[in-house]
Amino acid sequence: MQLITTLLAVTLSAGTSLLYATIGEIYTERSGILNLGVEGMMMMGALSAFAVSFYTGSLFLSLIVAMLVGGSLALLHAFLSISMRANQVVSGLSITLFGTGLASYLGQRLGPESNGFNLAGMTASNFQKIQIPFLGDIPILAAFFNQDVLTYMLFLIVPLSWYFMYRTKHGLSLRSVGENPRTASAMGISVAKVRYLYTVIGGMLVGLGGAHLTLAYTPGWSENVTGGRGWIVIALVIFAGWNPSRAVFGAVLFGGINAIQFRLQAAGTMIPASFLNMAPYVVTVVVLALMTIIGKKKKGKYSSPSALGNAFSIEDK
């Protein structure tokens, strides 16, 4: 029982950064913009949050900066793909290449002189687990109530996001812009404005996901802190069928894989570490393939926003 509770607690903690970023990318893709820059934005969010915490000690400020950094990179993507009609795949890729490169550079440049300007190996103030009285003592359930603030915030963000997207007027216009921008435009919605807005909001959430990595999940900065999580997020959006509440299952699944990996490594199994580390990537490919094949048969429920990845302009015929 104790083992299950611990595993579940690690799963939720590992899944937190994934869930922030997944919900962020769902907002973005729902508006019709595909942002493959998640890995880069997450990396920059992780770096900037850690750097700010290291120098100021303020966790609140760290989160604000991580959101601003994620949001600015997303704004760049929005400008390129909405205003300049650039290819969204390549634009997103370049955000990732630039973000990872810049984070690696800054990580070796922003540190204290005593450490050769390196941020790696430094410690900064980070988020502690807070046990909720009473609820935190019940077996199994305790896993949910021994988490850090960022994980607790998700208990609100997930249902609110679902409610916003499916039950409010703004959510409806967000979805209509992604499904049929021409009709949305005819109804008086500014397609470009909506797309800019949700791309930036998406980037801010991705930045928060990055911050959770360096300030809570594995406190400290290292150059491969994201380890492809940004790409797994792109897959999680598809698994979730672009629905924020379903995103929880994907994040828990992948968080769980991480937790089991840790557990097995600590226990010293016969399986080589390389194969254990492959698990999340192999599972992503397999699940993605299965989802696509099944999705073809049950059309509708899991399909992507129709206008995803396409530029839109009223002047186009």
Partner: protein, 354 residues
Amino acid sequence: MRIVLEKREARSKTVTVLVPIISFVVSLMLGSIVLGLSGANPLSTYGFMFKGAFGTWIDFTETLVKAIPLLLTGLGVALAFKLRFWNIGAEGQFIWGAIGTSWVMVFWNFLPLPLLLPIGLVMGMVAGAMWAGIPAILKANWGVDETLTTLMLNYVAILFAEYLYYGPWRDPDGFGFPGTKRFPQEGWLPRFAGRAHYGLFLALAIAILLWFLLSKTRWGFEIKMIGKNQKAARCLGVSIEKSIVVTLLISGALAGLAGATEVAGISHRLQKGIDMGYGYTAIIIAWMAQLNPLACILVSILMAGLLVGGDQLQMMVGLPSSMGLVIQGLLLFPLLAGSVFTEYRLKIVRKVEA
């Protein structure tokens, strides 16, 4: 008064050539902001980078050493991108190329020594093609998103290589060094200057061949057709599924060959550090070169220069070598923003018509 984009009647040739050049200059300017903010003098830093990459003949041969794998992976990526197949798995295909070649070099003792190199290189190409074949088949048959599958397989490839050189393939006499036994000398790809090996001429020949195939043959025409308009291509009787798989096998084979020449020409063993990120730089090269194989030659030398110059920075002024990566990352932004002007022009509208 407002500014709108108006579609040009035809793609502007001048703009197509000008945009990458201006982009390069703009990205250097943006890079100087990063340098300035992190407390370095941009001008002297760029001077060091340029001297480090092109200053002396020996420096230039080092730039060529990096240009070889960059050109080969860049060609592979450009070919796939022509189809609008977003192969971002050149890194993994490169690693599999290195694995395939190393397998032949280290374990195929029964081969006559002169055959080691040719068979080794072919095996590298086969391994790279195989790794690209998985996402290609998934995409062609079931429409599985290729950006994700190709990227995920990069991580699987590097972890598998890690397993090999830390595990069963580790040199028993290597004092624990994570790498295979050294290849027999007969299997090495000969060098012509410094560490620069004959893989360069192989890569150049392939670039020219690919340019010819793409611009002068029916196969090339079909690829362009599928990239531009899948429906029209299907109407003309082109088998899109077959084209995707065949083209991606070639794309993967090129990245595989890059990995093969890297181990056969430079490291002479499969070892830690084989994942040098060439497969990601290849994406920038392909796009900078506007997917033109001949332009890839020039761009890959330029990109190699940025990487070598970045390494020199670390040695000479103690700036992180990733500055080269930052500038590379910056390159695509002005390029993407500028590309719109090949098909559109800015127009100032004085009055909005009612």
